[in-house]
């Protein structure tokens, strides 16, 4: 394993491992550093746990993780969302092992302690066996601070962290743009592909903001498309850009025409969506409605990378979960129009299946690439990972003075600057 530079008190000097244009190989390899990340990053900042549509109605829940800690995300009878540690306060057994569902109470299977969906301890069997001063109010499921922005639900162990809206900052505008793919119906989670790869979580964090790999790694995806769509996915050739949004967040615009899905509704219907447009028109949708749905059906033209664990990636949510220093779990959550026409939603599912998932035309090659990074990083423990592509901003670009070329490694530098800030705080 790589050794960390240490100061005299043998507290590792994490700050020395991240420079402006490179990061040290130990960031992918060092188990002790991974433990420190779980403490200094994943318990200290906002971590994405759910989309509001995954909790449809009162008493709905899903299970998730904040860092490595299992949680239950619940919606109570008043509609409020709670994020609760999935651990009975008695002897630690998990109180829920379902991925999602409806429940008005969580009963620990071991000794029968029961909890309300807001975490309150409702009852314990044979309560007379406890001392007089035993107070159920002292033993709720541990609740995390929970906030929501435009359907994205985040939780944190840190009571002192800034409000979510402040943490997201300029990323909020891009979240709002991303949600326009609901085409007026709203966005709804519509199933997910989950897969693991044998590599460090930051390899995936980098990848969401890496346009440089696209034409290389995804050549076999590109050649499976019709000519018009292949041209659309020429992500390095359309004047796209990348922008550091602060706090480790960044946006990478690959298809500038698809930044705002409510613009350019008069554009010609792409050939690959003509049959869908015809079907929607035959169902009685107005021409305006058809154009709005069709323009949004393939998702946006950008990846919004939110530090540390979620991205709004073109047409889906990408969620990462660190499992160990060399293993990461990824969810690609498909999105549909909430209550929108089935024909459009079926098209969205087929597009998602085409690229994503363990047998998609894109994801397996990404995963293989990330594993190759981890395997290669076994060599050269003194070497560095370069993130020095495109350090000069573009001059005169319409998107602003501080944007780089789409293939610049600006988003990685933004994430690592935040990593450094949090690891040395």
């Amino acid at each position: 394993m790589g050794t960390l530079p240490s100061d005299a008190a043998s507290v590792p000097d994490y700050g020395s491992l991240v420079r402006e244009d490179r990061v040290h190989t130990s960031l992918y390899r060092d188990p002790a550093l991974f433990e420190a990340e779980m403490e200094r990053i994943f318990t200290k900042t906002w971590v994405w746990v759910a989309h509001a549509s995954e909790l449809p109605g009162k008493n709905s829940f899903k299970t998730a993780h904040v860092g490595r800690q299992p949680v239950i995300v619940t919606r109570d009878r008043a509609g409020q969302v709670h994020v609760l540690l999935n651990r009975c306060r008695h002897r630690a057994a998990s109180v829920c092992e379902q991925k999602k569902g409806k429940a008005s109470v969580f009963v620990c299977p071991y000794h029968g302690w029961s909890y309300d969906v807001d975490g309150r301890l409702r009852a314990v069997p044979h309560a007379a066996g406890y001392a007089q001063d035993f107070d159920k109010a002292d033993y709720p499921l541990v609740a995390l601070r929970t906030e929501e922005y435009n359907g994205l639900i985040f939780a944190t162990f840190n009571p002192d962290v800034e409000p979510l809206a402040d943490y997201l900052g300029p990323a909020k505008k891009w979240i709002d743009l991303f949600m326009k793919q609901g085409a007026g119906f709203g966005v709804k989670a519509a199933g997910e592909h989950r897969f693991r790869f044998r590599g460090n979580w930051k390899i995936q964090l980098e990848n969401t903001t890496d346009a440089y790999h696209f034409p290389i790694v995804h050549k076999s995806f590109l050649t499976s498309l019709d000519d018009e769509t292949e041209e659309l996915f020429d992500v390095l050739g359309q004047g796209g850009w990348i922008e550091d949004l602060g706090n480790g967040h960044s946006v990478m615009v690959m298809i500038p025409d698809l930044v705002d899905l409510e613009e350019n509704l008069d554009a010609p219907i792409p050939e690959r969506f003509q049959a869908l447009a015809d079907e929607l028109a035959a169902e009685g949708h107005s021409d305006e409605q058809v154009r709005r749905i069709v323009r949004a059906v393939g998702g946006t033209g950008f990846n919004l990378n939110l530090f540390p664990n979620v991205a709004c990636s073109m047409a889906f949510f990408r969620v990462l979960r660190p499992v160990s220093v060399t293993e990461t779990e990824i969810s690609h959550i498909a999105l549909a129009m909430d209550g929108g026409p089935e024909a459009g939603n079926r098209m969205r599912l087929r597009l998602h299946e085409h690229f994503q998932g363990p047998m998609g035309f894109g994801s397996p090659d990404d995963a293989e690439g990330w594993e190759r990074v981890q395997r290669g990083a076994a060599a050269g423990e003194d070497l560095w990972i370069l993130v020095n592509r495109g350090t000069d901003p573009l001059t005169g670009h319409g998107a602003g003075d501080n944007v780089g070329d789409v293939s610049a490694e600006t988003g990685m530098r933004a994430a690592y600057a935040m990593w450094k800030r949090m690891m040395t705080a």
Partner: protein, 164 residues
């Protein structure tokens, strides 16, 4: 899924021999002859929700018509997909056959598959329930439906750079 068939009943043993031939082709990555095993309207499906039969309305690992099967094979054989160049080695067995329906020129059966894959010093085991519809067409048998319900389809999988 209905199609023109030539009507003669399909014997279970004939169907099993056909399935074993298919399995052997897949282990050899002989994908061009595998494509030729299919009826034009056939569907190759790997659902995520093991309980669903509404494949069109839910997210799947794969939901392939003929065009998508052809595109998939082209990709796997292109040499430009690093997850399938080289692919993992696989050895699979298909067994526990149960005939579930039969009509003139068609048979449906359930089966179990155990598949071992090997790549990069790692050996993995995949298990799946299989459902087939096989029809008699053009003087031989053809796959009209193959549904692969992985035992852990709704859990985290790994990249699969070959065909199940």
């Amino acid at each position: 899924m209905s199609l023109e068939t030539d009507g003669a009943a399909i014997d279970l043993h004939e169907a099993i021999a056909f399935i074993w031939r298919e399995a052997e082709m897949l282990d050899r990555c002989a994908y061009a002859p595998w494509l030729a095993l299919w009826s034009a309207a056939g569907r190759y499906v790997i659902p995520i929700d093991r309980g669903t039969t509404d494949y069109a309305g839910t997210l799947n690992v794969a939901y392939d018509d003929q065009a998508m099967r052809e595109a998939r094979v082209k990709r796997l054989k292109s040499g430009f997909s690093m997850s399938s160049a080289p692919p993992a080695r696989t050895v699979r067995t298909v067994s526990r056959f149960v005939e579930t329906a039969a009509e003139a020129g068609a048979i449906e059966l359930d089966a179990a598959m155990l598949l071992v894959e090997y790549k990069y010093e790692t050996t993995r085991l995949l298990a799946a329930d299989l459902n087939y519809r096989i029809v008699r067409a053009n003087g031989g048998l053809a796959l009209d439906r193959k549904v692969i319900r992985l035992i852990n389809s709704d859990d985290a999988l790994h990249g699969i750079g070959y065909l199940l």
